[in-house]
């Protein structure tokens, strides 16, 4: 099977490696210098015409622009290996695919697989989700190998939501770590983050167990354990150096808008949003979270 991977950064190359490991021919779509060790083309549109499966592996804010150039069509299945919401619009990335292209068969890939660990051939696992069974199955076929297990799911909403929320919650993990608040607080962030994910997921119509799976808790645990996780790194930087992070602030704001629409309470996300927007010091945010009214679990 020919698989196009759009994006030749570290994550894109890791996915190409997994594709080759699964016995398929990865074709990398790149801009700039061709990636070493893989076949590819800078002509993204031509690449999309040649393959069934297109995996997108660029940062969330670049997805729309990339699709505008690549123009996947009705014959393609597009799988987003990028977590989060589109920062500028707060839209789900699968929705961006539907906005920008005539491709309907869309999926998402998420879970605690970290590029550097894949490169080191360490075992990992991810979940491929799509409303179309065939898209999830095709992604599984393209990436499943002895070094990476791919599970399928048809809960695209749940997996995308988990991916977006974990990016924000990972910041809280980083803050707690940098402030040396102890292992207990990190565990609280994970478990109460899980509660937020379940509440929001339920409101959005996601399956109940999705946030407890690889894309939610799985990735959140990885964020706590991996020193270079992007979300955790942002949290540490904000806790130590102060300042703001526009991308995380926008994503948190988008999640909170969604939560407001569905009348869901997300206190941790709200705190991270305020920290990332530079509106509140991390230590004060933790203090305010702890002083909230006592409630039942």
């Amino acid at each position: 099977m020919n698989v196009a991977i759009l994006g030749s950064g570290q994550w894109g190359r890791s996915l190409a490696m997994l594709t080759a490991e699964a016995g398929h021919q990865p074709m990398m779509g790149y801009r700039g210098d061709p990636p070493r060790g893989f076949q590819g083309s800078p002509n993204l549109a031509a690449l999309c015409r040649e393959v069934e499966l297109v995996i997108v592996a660029v940062p969330a804010h670049e997805v729309r622009g990339l699709l505008d150039v690549a123009r996947p069509g009705p014959q393609n299945r597009v799988v987003l290996a990028t977590r989060g919401l589109e920062p500028e619009t707060g839209r789900w990335l699968s929705q961006v695919v539907l906005d920008e292209t005539s491709c309907l068969r869309v999926g998402a890939l998420a879970g605690p697989a970290i590029a550097s660990e894949i490169s080191a051939r360490r075992p990992s696992a991810m979940v491929a989700a799509s409303a179309f069974d065939e898209v999830a199955a095709l992604t599984q076929k393209a990436l499943h190998s002895p070094i990476c297990r791919i599970y399928t799911s048809n809960d695209l909403v749940g997996v995308e939501m988990a991916g977006a929320l974990v990016r924000v919650l990972a910041v809280a993990v980083g803050v707690a770590d940098a402030l040396q608040l102890g292992v207990g607080v990190q565990a609280v962030v994970v478990t109460r983050g899980l509660a937020e994910g379940r509440r929001l997921g339920k409101a959005l119509g996601a399956a109940e167990g999705t946030f407890s799976g690889l894309s939610g808790v799985g990735e959140l645990v990885a964020a706590g354990k991996h020193p270079e996780h992007p979300g955790t790194s942002v949290g540490k930087r904000l806790a130590v150096q102060g300042g703001a992070d526009e991308g995380i602030a926008r994503e948190a704001a988008a999640l909170l808008t969604l939560a407001k629409r569905y009348k869901v309470n997300l206190p941790l996300t709200e705190a991270v949003g305020a920290i990332a927007a530079g509106k509140i010091k991390p230590r004060l945010a933790i203090d305010m979270l702890m002083r909230r009214e006592a409630t039942s679990e």
Partner: protein, 563 residues
């Protein structure tokens, strides 16, 4: 109200070359039995037994629950079910034979033996007959003498394009559904728009009214008996629709299923019949690949019906409030039981300008993509795309995948819902009812919807000035929605537009319902009938109008909140 540029005077139907050929019932029976046999042969033994048991069980219950005894037709059906029941404990072969015998009966019940000859007769006689009917009786004066009342039905949309597409494509027309008047209205609108007849599934209950039956049987209707709930009957109906589309017959069905109980523009659709277009098209592609004729592409045409007033509003909103729409699927004793009531209502509503609008929306392909003038699918940037790529492999072979097709149909249904919402037309009755019901909510914030239905006369009487201010504030937001293409409006313009809106709404509401939705109380008050106000205001739900800040009218006296 400015004229819609796409709304020319309704053209007379051309001598249509697109009239569908009649299908003999024997030919149809053979095709549908073939489909049923293929489906049964793919099922495991246990599922075949279940299918038969379910049909027998649900049908027996229907006969047992029948009020007032069984009709002769029902007696025939009961005997057929009892014959089938004997196979429940026999072999698979005998069970299949029993199921096929039931399918055989159902085909006869569903099919209407539509013929072009009948259609030509109907289109010659029917419009005149309908006009005469509407002008008859003591209410003749209301319809304005020389005017043909049917000319008051506004038919909008790109009609020339539809007239072209109907010759090259198979069209599935998918209207919103508010009233039992929808069926004859659509039948007339197709005729007036210069389009050939579309076949459609009309509920059996519509045929029980002689006046409606007259129109139904002449407008290409086939019969849908919604009392039959078992899967075998539903599958036969879907096969009927699939077979019709495959044979290039234009079809019409209400994807919302039943009349919208709450008065809202439908926010979801039943996907069963909608999905038959995709099934039929893929069958046509397979036939083409096997050397058969070129597959005729299928397009879906959203259609939005808007009424200033709905005859059955009182019964429908009662049903919505009881939250038992599913159980009371068929309302048999609403305002539609009386032929005279229908005629009177039709006379009343057609006496008013722009009170009934039929808008044919822009056609989309089976995946919800827009199409160009020639009916070719377009991508998001307006580039032509090949819809076959959604279902075929690189070699052009159709890949069977029912799960995929269900998701595609869900995408199509979302496109339909968006189109209905865009093509919905706000009228003065909707706007005034929305303003009034919103003010009642603001005045009684702690009451539940149900409690609000039982407010005292004082509580539900609003100061006219507050209502006018609310109409004004809502109108501003509404105009912004219209400018953004998210809604259409047929509302008064000019410096006195808000007063005129209220005055027109009061006039219209005063014409038919037992209790007017809004009625003037002295010079300064307007009394609100909460149920009807909720019903008519729901037509503007889902546009964010509830976020418009309105001044809360003072309560006439201290309110005693319920505990």
């Amino acid at each position: 109200m400015p004229p819609d540029p796409s709304t020319a005077a309704p053209p007379r139907p051309p001598p249509s070359a697109a009239l569908p050929a009649g299908i003999s019932v024997d030919e149809l029976r053979a095709s549908l039995l073939l489909r049923a046999r293929a489906r049964l042969s793919a099922l495991p033994d246990a599922d075949v037994a279940d299918l038969l048991s379910e049909a027998v069980f649900l049908e027996r219950r229907r006969f047992a629950d029948a009020r007032g005894g069984l009709s002769p037709e029902d007696e025939d059906e009961r005997r057929a079910v009892e014959r089938a029941s004997r196979a429940v404990h026999l072999s698979r072969r005998e069970q299949e034979a029993a199921l096929l015998a039931l399918v055989d009966d159902y085909v006869g019940q569903i099919h209407n033996r539509f013929s072009p000859r009948t259609y030509r007769f109907a289109t010659t006689v029917l419009p005149g007959g309908l006009s005469r009917l509407l002008q008859a009786g003591e209410l003749r004066g209301l319809v304005g003498g020389a005017h043909d009342p049917l000319q008051r039905i506004r038919i909008e949309g790109d009609l020339p394009r539809l007239q072209r597409l109907v010759r090259s494509h198979t069209l599935m027309l998918t209207p919103t559904h508010l009233s039992n008047l929808d069926s004859p209205l659509i039948g007339y609108a197709l005729y007036a728009a210069g389009l050939p007849p579309f076949i459609y599934g009309a509920g059996l209950n519509l045929f029980s009214n002689p006046l409606m039956a007259f129109f139904m049987s002449r407008l290409g209707a086939y019969t849908v008996d919604r009392r039959k709930r078992h899967q075998l009957y539903k599958d036969t109906l879907k096969d009927y629709s699939t077979e019709s589309v495959l044979r290039g017959r234009h079809s019409l069905f209400f994807p919302g299923g039943t009349r919208a109980r709450s008065g809202e523009v439908e926010q979801g659709v039943k996907k069963g019949l909608l999905g038959t277009g995709l099934i039929a098209w893929q069958e046509a592609l397979r036939i083409e690949r096997a050397g058969g004729p070129k597959a005729r592409d299928v397009l879906v045409v959203p259609c939005t019906l808007t009424y200033a007033m709905v005859l059955e509003a009182e019964t429908l909103i009662e049903d919505a409030l009881k939250e038992s729409g599913q159980r009371r699927y068929i309302i048999s004793d609403d305002a539609f039981s009386e032929p005279r009531t229908i005629a009177t209502f039709a006379q009343q509503i057609l006496a008013l300008d722009a009170s009934v609008i039929v808008r044919f929306g822009d056609p989309v392909d089976l995946f919800g993509n827009p199409v160009d003038e020639a009916g070719r699918s377009l991508g998001h940037a307006g580039e032509p795309i090949d819809p076959r790529a959604y279902v075929c492999d690189a070699e052009g072979v159709v890949q069977e995948d029912p799960q995929r097709d269900r998701v595609y149909t869900a995408a199509l249904s979302r496109a339909l819902v968006q189109a209905w919402s865009r093509d919905n037309t706000a009228m003065e009755t909707h706007l005034a009812a929305f303003a009034a019901y919103r003010l009642l909510c603001l005045r009684t914030p702690r009451r539940s919807t149900w409690e609000r239905m039982f407010l005292s006369e004082e509580e539900r009487t609003l100061p006219r000035s507050a209502l006018l201010a609310a109409i004004g504030a809502l109108r501003d937001r509404l105009d912004a929605l219209v400018s953004a293409g998210q809604l259409r409006a047929a509302l008064p313009e000019g410096p006195k537009r808000d007063a005129e809106t209220l005055s027109l709404a009061l006039d219209r509401f005063g014409r038919f319902h037992r209790e007017a939705c809004l009625s003037a109380v002295g010079a300064d008050g307007v009394r609100v009938a909460p149920k009807l106000a909720l019903y008519y205001s729901n037509r503007l739900a889902h546009y964010g109008l509830q976020d418009v800040a309105l001044d809360v009218p003072a309560a006439p006296r201290p309110l005693v909140e319920s505990p």
